[in-house]
Amino acid sequence: MKDYLQYYIKSNILIIKRKAYFSKSFIMEICADIINIIFALLFYQILYLNVGKGLGIPISDLFILVLSVKLTGDLYNLFFGAGVQSLPYHIQYGTLDGLLIKPFNIFFLMYLSKLNWKCLANLIIDIFLFIILISRYEIAVSLVSVLSYMAMICFTTLIFTAFNILIYLGSIIFVRLDAFISLLSSFFTLSTFPAAIFRNSFLKWVFIYLIPVIVIGNFPLMVIRREQKGSLFVIALTITLLFSLLAYWGTMSMLKHYKSASS
């Protein structure tokens, strides 16, 4: 455990040194993310000005929905994103060899060992936006609802990570799957929409259990709005376990087929 911690700290200090070197681009990227989230919030603000209650839920809930999706995305990118997204590169250019010979768990090396420091700044922005939102719309929060919300965000982050691992594992079969990855990832843009718009029950089922789009944004919202029943956490836990196990099994199976050096 000590070795793992040392490796984790050392490798991520090196990453932050590199980031500091390219500080201009680092700041620009953060600015782009801020503009992105402002526009996402403006989208609902403008719609709300036009149709008011026609959106079905209060504007504050829509903002929580958008921020929850951003929070999940930022947590994924902070802890797992860099590792998961480098998987096709490792397979295409054979650099996975370098990881396989290291005396650490391969799952840790591939997905968990790299931090994306930019997302740490994003997390601070997210917290700041949440504080503004809660005070502006006088949303009643208690310690229990905050803790439940954070637990649900942990679930959604794990689900999102496992889903992405499963997508990127496709690179063992297809050499170029950029467009396919973009296609599957683009489904998660739907997570910023309220679950009520998916009126077809089959569509709803698909977007909860197969491509867990509804889980990512709507489940945390339901928790903070205290609409949660025990069953919501049971569903979230089941999906988390299912996708995590699939991702682990998929990775281990993929390693058996890995042929090394630009395979």
Binding site: F39, V51, S182, L190, A196, F198
Partner: protein
Amino acid sequence: MSSYYIGLGKQTLKQAMVYRTNFILSFLVILIPLTGELLLAKFVYANGYQIGTWQLNNLILYYISATVVSEFFAIGTWWDIGNDIKYGGLNYHLIRPYSYFWHNFVSYYVLKLVYIVFAIIVAYIAMVIFSGNFIPNIYPLSLLQFAILALIAAPLAFLITFFLSILAFFFTDIDFISKMLGILLPFISGNILPLDIFPATIQKVLIKLPSAYLVYYPSCILVGNYDWKEFFSLIIEVLLWLIFFWILTSILWFRGRKIYEAIG
């Protein structure tokens, strides 16, 4: 000289056809967020509300048109031009007897044409699913107006792209411009929401920006919202933007060539 551009067009077409699956998948990526917007719009109308002055069928047609049009008249930085300047590949083009601008214009729009063919097929399917109509409710007059506008909007879109790409003469990294435009454009061009439902002050600014003439107005024309008088004043405004960017790009190209060191 025209035979060179025709040959270049044919060659680009062949290359583009190799990546046809990629084109379809790329367009599906754009279609998924659109699905969310359309489902949301249908939900609002089902609750008895209306977005601005838009009827649901018109709004669906607007959204689908805007998605296709925003791909055809896309603006951003073009990788080929930026790299030519950054890595010295521009030398190869400068010593040849053709215009670098028109060379890239042909390659750019041939690729776009292939993409748009697949985009129209996918968009048509989306329209049938969401509106239930097999024949889109587009008037022949609207198609004619759209074709005329497209003749000006296409060079304008490419001029802006060319202008942004040759900023590589002055900056080492222009990727950021592309990223920022990727965030700003869908919103300010009317791709995500029609510009006429924005608050009045923001609307006044946005409808005069060149991005509106590339997405919002062409989509509105297809939905059938314009008489000829309005249309001609619109054409004059687009032409003014075209002239403005032509002058700006010429100045930038001239200055950029002066400082270009022809090394990688």
